[in-house]
Structure formats: structure tokens, C-alpha cells
Symmetry: C2
DNA sequence: ATAATAGGCAACTAAAAGGTTGCATGTCAA
DNA sequence: TTGACATGCAACCTTTTAGTTGCCTATTAT
């Protein structure tokens, strides 16, 4: 879980996921296009995404195709985001109450 | 948005949010209990959470009370997580198809 | 008043992150 | 088979991050 959060912390990596979301199965060179960094930097980012299981790769001859794996993102939604959404209204109203008490 | 992802990338900070979720409105010293780091380190983490708007504080005499703000977490769920959940099944089935093609 | 309590500020350190350059390897096309 | 293309590996550099120590300030209780 920590690896996934860490992987998502970088804007370049999120943008890579965005691009794979738009078009799945891209090669390394395809994913490099338009990014202001070297191929090697992109390789590292993809490696981190792969280590976090957010991306799966498939060799096809000399090409490496990258596929997004939506499962870890979904898990974060389930195990983490939702947890905080449950208490959402309660937390906000309590905060509001406290803020108002300040002016007494 | 980037600040929020970055803030969530650290396990200590997520644990602080967890603790505030369990009991909202804790003081700095309260939040230090049981953590294997100095008060100053916790202060920094809370500062990052505050900068990302994940935590709001309220001074009460010499105490500083920390309240969780669930809104940014919710926004990440809405604007980010859900986006990838939509294409989820499609992405997985395409990946599966590609993986099977490998063995031809 | 004064001591204890709650927190703030700043300088410093170590390690990790993000990126680079240079070179090596495997695969495809002519 | 040879050159071009797609990717891999490794050493290196710079900035950021997580944490520390040391000292200062404000509030509260005795």
C-alpha cells in the first residue's frame, strides 16, 4: 500500500497513468513523447509504477508494452478514501462547531 | 492536488490522519504519543498536512487542536480514483487478452 | 512570581528521489 | 549481415525529505 501511495505522489507518474488510461498498451518510446525528460528517467518512473503493481508490461519483440492495472488504485479507494468519506459530514460539522466556539 | 498526494505519500502522515479520524481535535503532544520520533518531526508532518489542507488547526490557549478535513481526500476519490475505476474492467480484460496472445 | 507545560523556530545531517550521461544489448529490416 | 531502432544498466549529480538537536516564547497552575 505504501508503494502505491509513493508511486502516486509524483506528478510525472500520474501523468503516465493518465496516458495509459487514454491509450493502454503503449511502448516506452511512445510514453516518452512530449515529456520533458530523458527516456531513462521515464524508464525509472515506469519501474516504480511496475513495482507498485500499477503497471504491467509485456514484451513483444524488441518493444515493451505497458498496461495499466487498475486494481491497486481501486484498493486505495476502498480501503482508504472511503474510510474517511464515512466520517466526512460528522468531521466537518464538528470542526464548524469548534470554530464557532472560538468566538465566545 | 499534488500537495495532497505528496502529503499522503508518507506512512507517518497517513497514520496521523488515521489517529485524527479515530479521535478528532487532538493536541500536538497527544499526537506524539507512541510515535517513534521527536515532537518537532511530528510538527513538520502536521505542517505538511495543514499545507495540503488535510488538517485544520485551532488554538485553544497554549494548546493547538488538530482537526481532519476530509474534503481533499474526497476530491481525490472523485477526480482521480473513480476515473480509473470506470475503465477498470475494460483494462483488465484487455490485459488478459494480451497476456493470452503472448502464448501464440 | 515562578516553575512546569505546550508549542515554535532554525541550523544541521543523512538518506532518498528525480534526473542526467554514457555505454551495452537484443531485435528487426534492408 | 549490418545498420537502425527499442530498451537496459550503471555511475554520477542535485535537490528534497525526514529526522535530529538546541534554544526560545507563551500560557497555565501553584
Amino acid at each position: 500500500m505504501d508503494e502505491v501511495f509513493k508511486a502516486l505522489a509524483d506528478a510525472s507518474r500520474r501523468s503516465l497513468l493518465d496516458r495509459l488510461h487514454a491509450k493502454n498498451g503503449q511502448t516506452l518510446n511512445e510514453l516518452c513523447d512530449g515529456l520533458a525528460m530523458t527516456r531513462q528517467a521515464v524508464t525509472k518512473h515506469l519501474g516504480i509504477l511496475e513495482a507498485a503493481n500499477l503497471v504491467t508490461t509485456l514484451r513483444h519483440g524488441r518493444e515493451k508494452l505497458h498496461y495499466i492495472n487498475p486494481v491497486p488504485i481501486h484498493q486505495i479507494g476502498e480501503r482508504w478514501i472511503r474510510k474517511f468519506e464515512r466520517g466526512k459530514l460528522a468531521a466537518l460539522s464538528e470542526l464548524k462547531r469548534q470554530l464557532e466556539k472560538r468566538d465566545e
